[in-house]
């Protein structure tokens, strides 16, 4: 290129444009809320959280519309490892991400919980089960949406005892989550007048064959088989239970199970199962409307419970930001969460909900029974509603949690 006036002018103009772009980019960054979806993108929980959570988070951003600031959505895979999750969260927060969303797998959630508190950012949890997130480990930077072990235990446990299932035998994954689920459910069973006849704790995640534990459950003569596990373990246990004809004498209580697991088990084997979810796509007109908006982007499937929670939490957070002001929301995670607690939440997935002082979001727990193949009218028509526990009763009372934010 010859060095003449024309080329010099062109170079000058380009530099000016570039510099100007950088200046406006910085200004833009100050006006952009950055959301990071940190989930299991490639492991056992990929189908119940993972890419679905990203899709629903983006849908919440879209439904929120434009109210004077930009929203950017990032995603990463924490591989169910606390150190990986904490590192990604730390890196994100240092690069200007304001919120981490989803965080399935309680060990990762608890690790990232600490990082969010340290950096004064926001942790919107939808995927983890541990009720410690609003108990002993509660944080002013955290909102726990969707579900926890207490809500699952109360909804499924107490409801089944009321139906006559007053003697239980547990098959429990031998680690923190399984123990917590078994303990919470056993408390409700006993509180409702039932008995726990025994429990078999199997090594997790090393167990594929549950026949030995099924036979022990059969020998106990309990009326209810309580499955304190999740995902593939639950599927394998139920397959084995049906093989051995357990359904003739026992009801099966899947303490943590969702639509995706039911699909992988098949209605033939899953029919009659009782389980609790906080969201079901076919529950009411609003959930159906949300499902229609999202289905094409979600691999043709309706949303599962945890991604729906990401939707609700994101939408409410963005409303709180609009109310508080972007600069203040970005500056302090605690302020943003306080504003979320002050404003009542309402969205298509969960309807009206409130966030308590300990960070627990209150919405109803729904007890479902899985339909038989004959009752199901389309591939995702899986549940019939049996009972609803209202939000104020579904979760652990404030006084019992041991959360330092609760002033007695």
């Amino acid at each position: 290129m010859r060095l003449n006036r024309r080329s010099l002018l062109a170079a000058g103009a380009a530099t000016g444009a570039f510099a100007g772009h950088r200046r406006s980019a910085r200004a833009q960054a100050a006006n952009t809320i950055r959301l990071g979806v940190l989930s299991d993108m490639s492991g056992p929980y990929r189908d119940t959280t993972g890419p679905g959570s990203v899709v629903l988070t983006r849908q919440a951003v879209q439904d929120f519309g434009s109210r004077g600031f930009e929203v950017e959505v990032l995603q990463a895979d924490h591989q169910n490892k606390p150190d990986v999750g904490a590192n990604i969260a730390r890196q994100w927060f240092d690069q200007g991400v304001d919120v981490v969303i989803d965080l399935p797998t309680s060990s990762v959630a608890l690790a990232v919980n600490n990082v969010a508190r340290e950096k004064n950012k926001v942790h919107l949890n939808s995927g983890a089960a541990s009720s410690d997130l609003t108990g002993a480990q509660c944080s002013p930077n955290t909102v726990h949406w969707t579900y926890d072990t207490y809500m699952l235990a109360k909804s499924t446990g107490a409801a089944i005892v009321k139906q006559g299932g007053d003697s239980w035998y547990f098959i429990t994954a031998d680690y923190a989550f399984g123990h917590a689920l078994e303990r919470d459910t056993a408390n409700f069973v006993r509180g409702a007048g039932g008995k726990v006849l025994g429990a078999a704790r199997y090594p997790f995640p090393a167990t594929t064959d549950f026949s030995a534990f099924i036979v022990q459950a059969q020998a106990s003569r309990a009326k209810v088989l309580g499955l304190a596990n999740a995902s593939t373990d639950t599927v394998n246990a139920i397959k084995a239970a049906r093989e051995f004809g357990l359904q003739r004498n026992m009801k099966f209580a899947a303490l943590l199970m969702g639509v995706v697991d039911i699909k992988s088990l098949g209605l033939e084997s899953a029919q009659g199962l009782l389980l609790t979810e906080a969201f079901y796509w076919d529950l009411n007109d609003r959930t159906r409307a949300l499902t229609e908006r999202v289905r094409a982007k979600n691999e043709g499937r309706p949303p599962a419970m945890v991604p729906a929670g990401c939707y609700g939490a994101t939408l409410h957070y963005l409303k709180a930001v609009a109310n508080l002001g972007v600069a203040q929301a970005k500056a302090s995670g605690i302020e943003a969460v306080n504003r979320m607690k002050a404003m009542p939440a309402d969205d298509d997935a969960f309807g009206a909900s409130t966030i308590r002082v300990d960070g627990r979001c209150l919405h109803p727990g729904y007890l479902f029974e899985v339909k038989s193949p004959g009752e199901s009218r389309n591939p995702w028509d899986l549940y019939k509603l049996v009972a609803t526990t209202p939000g104020e009763e579904a979760f652990r009372p404030l006084a019992e949690g041991g959360c330092s934010l609760v002033k007695t």
């Binding site: 090594p203 090393a206 594929t208 030995a212 036979v215 397959k239 088990l265 098949g266 033939e268 084997s269």
Partner: protein
């Protein structure tokens, strides 16, 4: 006396029977591994992934082509064996002259790739596969209900194991194969096509893993991780039995299934570790394995 250590006798017999059934799975899978290691000196870490491919092949045959379980028992292993042969020709055959470790690393990498591909395609949750109607239901044995399908698995595994052992130890083809692993050049000088025999043997071992997958599909969740959970235990079985011994793999598979079953009754939390404890003891006492030749 109708209790042993607080466990009623009927329950104990039930658990022994269940242990035998699990042992049948272990025996069949470790047989494939022992064949491949004993005859080809390749530590086939992809065995679990090939087991998983067998189960998925059965599912695909049913879901995409309407081909049922009985045909899948024959077709699925052949399909998976062909993919195994392709892998062997492209990658594994280059490593025969090298240290065992390279074969282990290569097949481990292949296993990860295969699992990743399936997980991308099918998700991680698993797919439903029903027990064929002819084999559903259970027999009431008095002390427990024994599902018909599990009885079938034991019979099928025994037949396969014995047939393989006969093939390798008692037929001329088996003799050629055993000779080729000891002195390949000599056998080749006699006009036997050794590389082709080795390729087919690898395919056969893979086919054994795949037929295990088809047998497993109705009772275990068909998901991309199903092989990786099982493969570690199977390796322990092969090591205990003796890496090169076919009969060792079969006998040890059944025996360890029973030991694991008993552990599940008396101390369920330890049922995953007991096999490795035994492996450690056996390696200390007899490093070549119970039936192995050093």
């Amino acid at each position: 006396m109708d209790e042993i250590f607080g466990i009623p006798l009927p329950l104990l017999f039930g658990q022994l029977l269940l242990g035998l059934i699990n042992g049948a799975f272990y025996a069949m899978l470790s047989l494939g591994l022992a064949v491949i290691f004993g005859l080809l000196n390749i530590v086939n870490m992809a065995h679990g992934a090939q087991f998983m491919m067998g189960a998925f092949a059965a599912w695909m045959l049913l879901a995409w082509f309407g081909i049922g379980y009985w045909w899948a028992l024959i077709i699925a292993p052949i399909i998976v064996a062909i993919t195994g042969i392709i892998l062997e020709k492209l990658f594994i055959s280059r490593l025969y002259k090298l240290d065992h470790l390279y074969g282990l690393l290569l097949t481990f990498g292949l296993a990860l790739i295969i699992e990743g591909i399936f997980r991308n395609e099918f998700g991680s949750s698993g797919l439903p596969y029903r027990i064929p109607p002819e084999l559903s239901g259970a027999w009431d044995l008095g002390f427990m209900f024994m599902p018909v399908y599990r009885g079938w698995v034991v019979v099928a595994a025994l037949v396969l194991c014995l047939a393989t052992w006969l093939l390798i130890e008692k037929t001329r083809l088996g003799a050629y194969l055993r000779a080729a692993t000891e002195r390949a050049e000599l056998v080749q000088a006699f006009g036997v096509n050794v590389p082709r025999m080795i390729t087919l043997t690898y395919g056969f071992g893979v086919g054994l893993a795949a037929i295990g997958g088809v047998l497993a599909a109705p009772i275990y969740s068909v998901n991309p991780q199903m092989g990786s959970n099982l493969i570690i235990v199977v390796f322990a079985v092969v090591v205990i039995g003796g890496m090169g011994s076919i009969m060792g793999a079969i006998v040890t598979g059944f025996a360890l299934g029973i030991v694991e079953g008993l552990t599940k009754v008396f101390w369920p939390e330890a049922s995953a570790t007991v096999i490795f404890v035994i492996m450690a003891i056996v390696l200390l006492a007899r490093p070549a394995g119970l039936f192995g030749r050093a």
